[in-house]
Subunit: 141 residues, 2 copies
């Protein structure tokens, strides 16, 4: 699977921006669910954290595969990624939320609520309006 | 199922803006896929159109249920909706794309490529940062 640093530079540059992403999971009944979320980049993967009581957590435990779309300031430039959850861990101290809060707001996160954090491999990706040569679709998108 | 006009006014106001949405479908292997899209509001439902050769079309034909999240200019205000496809029709003249192009750009759509258009019922919804009383979650979200 491609790691982040193997993506085209323009795609990576967009992903590095602290843009609010839209995350999709799949419910028990097989229907999709979306919500907005923060994300980060770590170990060549997408870093996510969710509250332990979030509705999307059982979705992810059941089908450990998610998809995200990140719209740039100009929403006609966007990147979508999807892939399996490579690692998931209890995060009672909200260490990942704190990292993401620093990334998005420059401030630490003060709340302490049990969270679950995870790293998502980039199995597929596609981009639109991002690559100058027009070859916006990743090989496995 | 709630129709659009039964949603709280602030939620409907956000949906009425021509914001680029993120659409989720479910692939044959049960994993979620996301992409950016235009949408409209018609007959109390969400109006979508996709190219007949788009990868998401077989996903929707297989599982006729989609989810969308719409981020406001302030992305900490957002609305997510999901529900079954109530009606789907061949749209070879891109009538819906033309409608959506007028909504988003004020200009008609000049291309002619076979499309498939659809209306999506709002079975579940949730909002964040939108409702002044803090009750941002819809009853069936």
């Amino acid at each position: 699977m491609p790691l982040l640093h193997e993506l085209p530079e323009a795609v990576l540059e967009l992903l590095e921006k602290p843009r609010v992403a839209v995350l999709a999971t799949v419910r028990a009944d097989g229907t999709p669910a979306t919500t907005a979320c923060w994300y980060g980049l770590q170990d060549g993967m997408i870093l996510l954290t969710v509250y332990a009581n979030a509705r999307r957590l059982p979705n992810i435990r059941r089908r450990a595969h998610v998809a995200l779309t990140i719209l740039d300031e100009d929403p006609y430039r966007h990147v979508s990624v999807s892939g399996p959850v490579a690692r998931m861990w209890e995060d009672p101290e909200m260490e990942v939320m704190n990292l993401l809060s620093m990334r998005y707001t420059g401030e630490p996160w003060h709340e302490r609520e049990p969270c679950v954090s995870m790293l998502v491999e980039i199995e597929r990706w596609h981009a639109y309006g991002v690559l100058s040569d027009g070859s916006d679709h990743g090989p496995a998108s």
